[in-house]
Symmetry: C2
Subunit: 492 residues, 2 copies
Amino acid sequence: MGVGKYKPTGRKYGPPIPSCADYPADGNKLVGSLREALVNAGLRDGMTISTHHHFRNGDLIANQIFDIASELGVKDLVWFPSASFPCHNPLIKYLEDGTIHHIEGSMNGPLGKFCSEGKMRGAGVLRSHGGRYQAVQDGEVHIDIAVIAAPQADAFGNANGVNGPAACGLLGFALADSQYADKVIVVTDTLVPFPCIPWQIHGNHVDYTVKVDKVGLPEKIVSGTTQITKSPDRLLIAELTARFCDKAGIVRDGFSYQAGAGGTALSIGIYFGEILRERGWKARFIRAGSNQYPVAMLEEGLVDYILDGQTFDLEGVRSMRENPGHVNTSPFTSYNYHSKGNFSTMVDVVILGATEVDLNFNANVVTHSDGYLLHGIGGWQNCLFGKCTILPIPLFRDRIPVIRDEVTTLCGPGELIDVIVTERGIAINPLRQDLIDKVKDSGLPLRSLQELKEEAERICGVPRKQEFEDEVVAVIKWVDGTVIDCVRKVKA
Amino acid sequence: MGVGKYKPTGRKYGPPIPSCADYPADGNKLVGSLREALVNAGLRDGMTISTHHHFRNGDLIANQIFDIASELGVKDLVWFPSASFPCHNPLIKYLEDGTIHHIEGSMNGPLGKFCSEGKMRGAGVLRSHGGRYQAVQDGEVHIDIAVIAAPQADAFGNANGVNGPAACGLLGFALADSQYADKVIVVTDTLVPFPCIPWQIHGNHVDYTVKVDKVGLPEKIVSGTTQITKSPDRLLIAELTARFCDKAGIVRDGFSYQAGAGGTALSIGIYFGEILRERGWKARFIRAGSNQYPVAMLEEGLVDYILDGQTFDLEGVRSMRENPGHVNTSPFTSYNYHSKGNFSTMVDVVILGATEVDLNFNANVVTHSDGYLLHGIGGWQNCLFGKCTILPIPLFRDRIPVIRDEVTTLCGPGELIDVIVTERGIAINPLRQDLIDKVKDSGLPLRSLQELKEEAERICGVPRKQEFEDEVVAVIKWVDGTVIDCVRKVKA
């Protein structure tokens, strides 16, 4: 239909109206264990259970939920995480034995491989962070029980991510879950007397609270990708990207950007910082996934605000706790497409990754060219709505060209992708004549996607087209809840 | 039915699902004037228009809305303010000429008198702050257009009350309006580039933004009652109240209280502060309406947090801007009864006023004994749910006894009112044998309500029972949306 053409009808989901009369007057919703909370919440066959991924690979709670479900003999659950990680590999046994029917949410690594091989009974459903909020808000996904692991909470259920030994920054991915789930369980290892401040999650939405010994492993919150790249090719790509933004007039006093947490993106942020410092400019905001680099810019005064959706390292956590200008956001404020606007369209330039791009600037972010579903969408689709979307990508990875005739899986429509930066040249989407005009005399190595593709194929050869079985193993949702593509079972 | 006996069924109201595709991609929702915004929002006959009262008697926007409606010839509007004040007296002409059909919300002063005299065409509906949130959340009141006056905003509609020349602290009373109204207009005199931080109101809920010269008069935000009482009788009542709390073991390290903004209540806060200071204790939180007195306690370290629903003076505004421990709350977090608990039940002791009390501890807060509706409910009904609710009241006002056989208007059921403190003795609700036991040997002047009533009548005589016409001019809602009483037209 084209971007923005599908218009929703109907009303947002209205959860059942609760009454304070049914909750303890002293505000103490503590129960003895996660098991007790799940039983009280009515855990039974076929329910949808949600979790968030702010602990990333250090999550200790999701696996426990399904251990308990398995002990109780509960079957056919739908797991609705905001993302899953390798630490969740133990759940494969529950996918195999029927405890979990299928996963709706990103499947990073082995869970994605399991899905790609057709071993999951139900089809996976992949949504962006904003799409997840939209689906819950619109009643497309009904969460029976939300389990919200929190670094700090009070017995009433107010909770945050900035304090406590497992501090992970914020809990925004669990916001929709708290607002719309039938039953909400907050699990923490750090219980403080009411009020737990800040209350990123409102206890007014919470049914039960649980105290455990350890809610997450903070050292595993750090994403492995938050190191600046040392690869000469990647550094060149970063430099070309920053130069493009400068020549196109995007970098200016008061501009804004989102650079992500990959090594190349981080390097671009460093270049931006240098430009700002040299010229005495100040960015208005950095849209983040935060880590030490944007934090250093905030504390140096190179930017007014970090608008942060998830902290990628412990410096990010510290800064969110200490700096009033380090603001926590949620998929509602940042990304929800079924809203009266969101923040994603107000970012001047957005730097994103991709596994593949085709000649129409369509891009893939979930499957590799071998067909395996190995990544989630994250905020990627949502960020495409930025004023200028740039994909800095290498021409080939492991000698497999990245620019293809057709992407294995369509995740983002080309009309939203403005610039592809490679180590051998920059391709600008013909739809963005304004950008082409701005940089045409800049000396930047401008190329067409076709030229870049041919160059890669001269070096690596023309890649073989991956073949698939007919069976659909996962569907990819667009930001408005429509299906944009599907993933098929890989051929053995 | 008794407190907590009515149980809601059904689901929360689901507003229509919007789409970002219908809002400007650059986030700029500015229109040229309030008139243009109202026209764009589809203003027409019979609509419900809401406003908030954080500017109290310094509000400059509500009257303009109805001036515009009158110019446009729009009729039969329902005004749904979170409260109205004497500055809104000019609206009487619109009640008379049919521009406004009736007011749902508290009517302080002349508007209440107008209503009491049967001059408003529709019946008024009075709700507590929590009841107002509940009514909107549950779909009992459908807001067509919410107009949110904001001391600071960005063009996207993010807004707060802490910054700007008309800073009023917070915008919590407008939260439900922003979340549930069909159309939302933010009006500000201080526009900042995106992002306006803090975003107490999310621009994601906002349809239009408007820039005006002046949004409110900060000097009129100050409530006239925020002076410590100088009356010897009132000081005695304050001292007795504080002594009662101390002897009953309510004042302790880590306790919490809500003292309100009246002169007597403020003096009680001063006594509490002295006790804490002497004994080296610290209160956990003060539930406020804040002003300079709780702020001084926070900054002295006598309390961890102020949980603030509205700032009553500019020191309150400053503190909310500066002190992380001065936390803004909303009727959702604090008071909404159709929620999974709220904060009101967690306050150790709540000090409230009343115009009348009867022998069953039922109380009135909206009408005077002459039958005139002159006050709103505010958070009064919601606060009754505190662990110990005390009404410090004089035995008589203007020689009219306050303790009656029956209250003129029932606003709060006696089962939630624990203690009446007067200048001639303290009456404890027989339902609270625990409190009676704690203070029986304390030397405090314990009396029955009957004894106190007789003493007042010996001095002032038995008051004449006010007579009314049959016509109902306003209904009083309880916190769960049921009707607890009504107000009838006063006899001329």
